[in-house]
Amino acid sequence: APSLLAASPRTSRNNYRLAQAYLDKYYTKKGGPQIGEMVARGGNSTVKKIKELQEFFGLRVTGKLDRATMDVIKRPRCGVPDVAN
């Protein structure tokens, strides 16, 4: 986790948890009824999911939870995933 973050330890732990929940919800393949998706690509590690998020939102694709990426993660949004489920 530390390698993904560029912030103070406490904040970075919160950000990491927030980011993990976000990636689970919007960038992870699930079963059940279709609720919004795109064509998923192969298996997702956390870095890969971060890169997918950064690509989707047109951010610099670093695989790290930089400020711009955390800003997007903190914005209110639709509950439909951005990738296949």
Binding site: K25, Y26, K30, G32, P33, Q34, I35, G36, E37, M38, V39, F56, F57, G58, V72, R75, P76, R77, C78, G79, V80, D82, A84
Partner: protein, 376 residues
């Protein structure tokens, strides 16, 4: 824009929707309005029509939910996830849920319900998220003013990829392959179009104007076609003043000047009779509009700016009439040209406007263009 894998879409062009649970942060009327406007944002771009139902299962079930609400996508309290919707399909398909923990609003002091609903209905119709930041289907919230809202280009392209574009009027001739222009049929989509008479006849709704009339199913906009009155009602010729149907009797009444005809379906039942059979005073020479109220079993006749009430059971005009139309039906402006009762509402047509009147609230609940009733 993006579609869902497999590109699920609705196979019919009239979809029902029902708001089964409301939010405490807005009045039900505001929620109704926001949903209606959000659906209209999409139906303005594609040939889809939305009909609201108030009971039973609808294609698009809309509800405000809290936390885990049984669809394996729990809400997360204030902010974060605002709402979600399911792709087109049976059962859960199309259903749309809003997080009740949010502060919903018609304005900007909270999350604008129109904005979020319009986005979610994009999913319910088959659109996934767009990567275009200017698109309505972009995943993150960005306030949209409901008044004067126009669907962004990316969303129009996406939804028309599924359903094709909405044409001005299904039967409208399109050059050069359209049928030859018939001068006796007024411009089908003249925005000032008004009707002479409107009535149900069996399962069809008939709308009369000059020498023609349109026939349509109540819940379907497609298949509306104009016909000449003489082709179905030779005796009436043109310019019908008023019409109404007593469905339980299977009879309909058509008025022209001081005469009226009784029909069963399209079959005339004998020669014309005089309107004084109903008990009108002699100075009444013609009727402007008529509407049968099913529950009360009474027919309202509109003459100028007054109206009469006729008791269909006793077959006699009620006492203390005529009364002022404006006093009784607040919010309906101008002389009544035509009227019909559908699903418990009275629809008054006055010039180019159609007023939807709620008899329980005793008020107008919406105003549309008369021409929208023939698919314009």
């Amino acid at each position: 824009y993006r579609l869902f894998p497999g590109e699920p879409k609705w196979k019919k062009n009239t979809l029902t929707y029902r708001i089964s649970k409301y939010t405490p942060s807005m009045t039900p009327a505001e929620v109704d309005r926001a949903m209606e406007m959000a659906l209209r944002a999409w139906s303005s771009a594609v040939p889809l029509n939305f009909v609201r139902v108030n009971a039973g299962e609808a294609d698009i079930m809309i509800s405000f939910e809290t936390g885990d609400h049984g669809d394996s996508y729990p809400f997360d309290g204030p902010r974060g996830t605002l709402a979600h919707a399911f792709a087109p399909g049976e059962g859960l398909g199309g259903d749309t849920h809003f997080d009740n923990a949010e502060k919903w609003t018609m304005g900007t002091n909270g999350f604008n319900l129109f904005t979020v609903a319009a986005h979610e209905f994009g999913h319910a119709l088959g659109l996934a998220h767009s990567t275009d930041p200017s698109a309505l289907m972009y995943p993150t919230y960005k306030y949209q003013n409901p008044y004067g809202f126009r669907l962004p280009k990316d969303d129009v392209k996406g939804i028309q990829a599924l359903y094709g574009p909405r044409r001005a009027f299904p039967g409208k001739p399109t050059a050069p392959h359209g049928p030859p222009h018939n001068p006796s049929i007024p411009d089908l989509c003249d925005s000032n179009l008004s009707f002479d008479a409107v009535t149900m006849l069996g399962k069809e709704l008939l709308l009369f104007r000059d020498r023609i009339f349109w026939r349509r199913q109540v819940h379907l906009m497609s298949g509306i076609r104009p016909s000449t009155i003489t082709s179905s009602f030779p005796q009436l010729m043109s310019n019908v003043d008023a019409a109404y149907e007593v469905a339980e009797r299977g009879t309909a009444y058509f008025f022209k000047g001081p005469h009226y005809w009784i029909t069963r379906g399209f079959q005339m039942q004998g020669p014309p009779r005089t309107i004084y059979d109903f008990g009108f005073p002699r100075y009444v020479q013609r009727i402007d509009a008529a509407v049968y109220l099913k529950d009360a079993q009474k027919t309202l006749f509109f003459v100028g700016d007054e109206y009469y009430s006729y008791d269909e059971r006793k077959r006699k005009m009620e006492k203390d009439y005529p009364k002022s139309t404006e006093e009784e039906f607040s919010g309906v402006n101008g002389q009544i040209d035509a009227a019909v009762e559908l699903n418990g509402y009275i629809y008054f047509f006055s010039g180019p406007k159609a007023y939807k009147y709620d008899t329980e609230k005793e008020d107008v609940v919406s105003v549309l263009k008369s021409s929208s009733w023939i698919g314009c």
